[in-house]
Symmetry: C2
DNA sequence: ATTAAATTTTAGGTAAATCTAAAAAATATT
DNA sequence: AATATTTTTTAGATTTACCTAAAATTTAAT
């Protein structure tokens, strides 16, 4: 089946939201897509007719198996283009998202499979998110939020939330990126902030809001 | 100013047609874009309001200077992507057009300028068409149709029409590509066909229709 | 258990880009 | 020059993807 750019944006967003939420609400989608709730309802009805999701009025929405397949192919395109932009064209990691947002809607399968090969079948995009393979298989996530890290345990940043430009700019300024090794020195229960140490750099404090969008793996 | 995909397709097509025609008619556009003449009229009115072309009812249309600039930037995107697809992803030259048709509408200037640099500032696309530079400058065309070539003069193919897939497939089958050296051995006035010799290959006859879409430079 | 608040849907409307059918204008033919 | 033909435009509809305002439903608070 064939999907418009608008439909693809809904599918991709529902997929992302249902990772954590299981049942996605109209308001969540409305906020995420910057459209009015009434427009979301409209689109959900249309996508339901295309049989890629389960939608019951007032009870939220969930992609079915077909929908998940579509979502994974969009995510694959997005992340491969992000990798291309960063690796081959030298874009900063905080600049790739918006351009990939447009490129992802070019839907030739042959294009994407050849791009994948050209890039050497990369496993993750520049934010550390896993890239689904041509069969739609995606690596299970085995990292956790920096807020979850135990004190004095060393970890490496493997993933960061891939949404907000101001967030990514802030990380760049704090010199935190994929592969950065760090350790929690202190944890403030008052506001949930954490004090971390990165090799060679002075101690810095991160707000809970920031820390919970940085994902690490123990080393 | 910003243009929709549909608008960009009109602008690009008007630009191409006005190279030979100067004043482009509604019917020509309708045929080229596979839309009804009534739809063309609608769009021309809208583009006139955006002040990128001169359009008088019943008298055809012509891009003005601003329109030409827009057209050249679309053509630049299209041809750079074609080059990328052929050179980096290994697509056949007859497969690149349709995919580039979609990629060309991703309009980030930074993306295109970085792509240009990554590709080594190529001068022509896989069909031999010149690629406008970042300032919109494009190489003047100094080749001529194969039908124009004098008998027994050697020439090299520098350009082929970039429209029809069946045309490009036929060229591939006849082993004619950019850079192919050839010579006209005989010319048949009855149907305008020409007999040509390509090094190592037996003599072949090309219809006028085919020959007039192959462009050469004397060597 | 009502009432209040928040969420979601319905109803009706708009703009872009297309269409068909009919009218108008330009071009070609006799 | 009058008529026929072709081309182009106008008028009115349709689909997609959005919107606002009002109604319906669910959830929270008293």
């Amino acid at each position: 089946m064939n999907f418009s750019t608008a439909e693809e944006n809904y599918i991709k967003t529902i997929w992302r939201l249902q990772q954590s939420d299981s049942n996605v609400t109209t308001n969540e989608l409305s906020a995420e897509l910057q459209t009015k709730p009434a427009s979301v309802t409209d689109m959900l009805k249309r996508l339901k007719e295309k049989k890629i999701l389960n939608y019951e009025p007032y009870y939220g929405v969930k992609l079915n198996n077909d929908g998940k397949k579509v979502a994974l192919s969009i995510v694959r395109r997005h992340r491969l283009w992000e990798f291309f932009l960063a690796e081959k064209l030298g874009f900063d990691w905080d600049a790739v998202h918006d351009i990939a947002e447009e490129l992802e809607h070019v839907s030739s399968t042959e294009l994407i499979d050849r791009l994948d090969q050209f890039l050497g079948f990369p496993k993750t995009d520049p934010h550390g998110d896993p890239i689904p393979d041509s069969k739609g298989r995606i690596e299970a996530i085995n990292h956790f939020a920096l807020t979850q890290l135990k004190e004095f345990q060393t970890a490496v940043v493997v993933n960061v939330a891939d949404q907000d430009n101001s967030f990514l700019e802030m990380l760049k300024q704090k010199k935190i990126g994929i592969g950065t090794k760090l350790e929690i020195k202190q944890r403030f229960s008052y506001d949930g902030s954490v004090e971390i140490k990165i090799r060679n750099l002075p101690l810095i404090t991160l707000s809970e809001q920031l820390a919970k969008n940085i994902f690490v793996k123990a080393v």
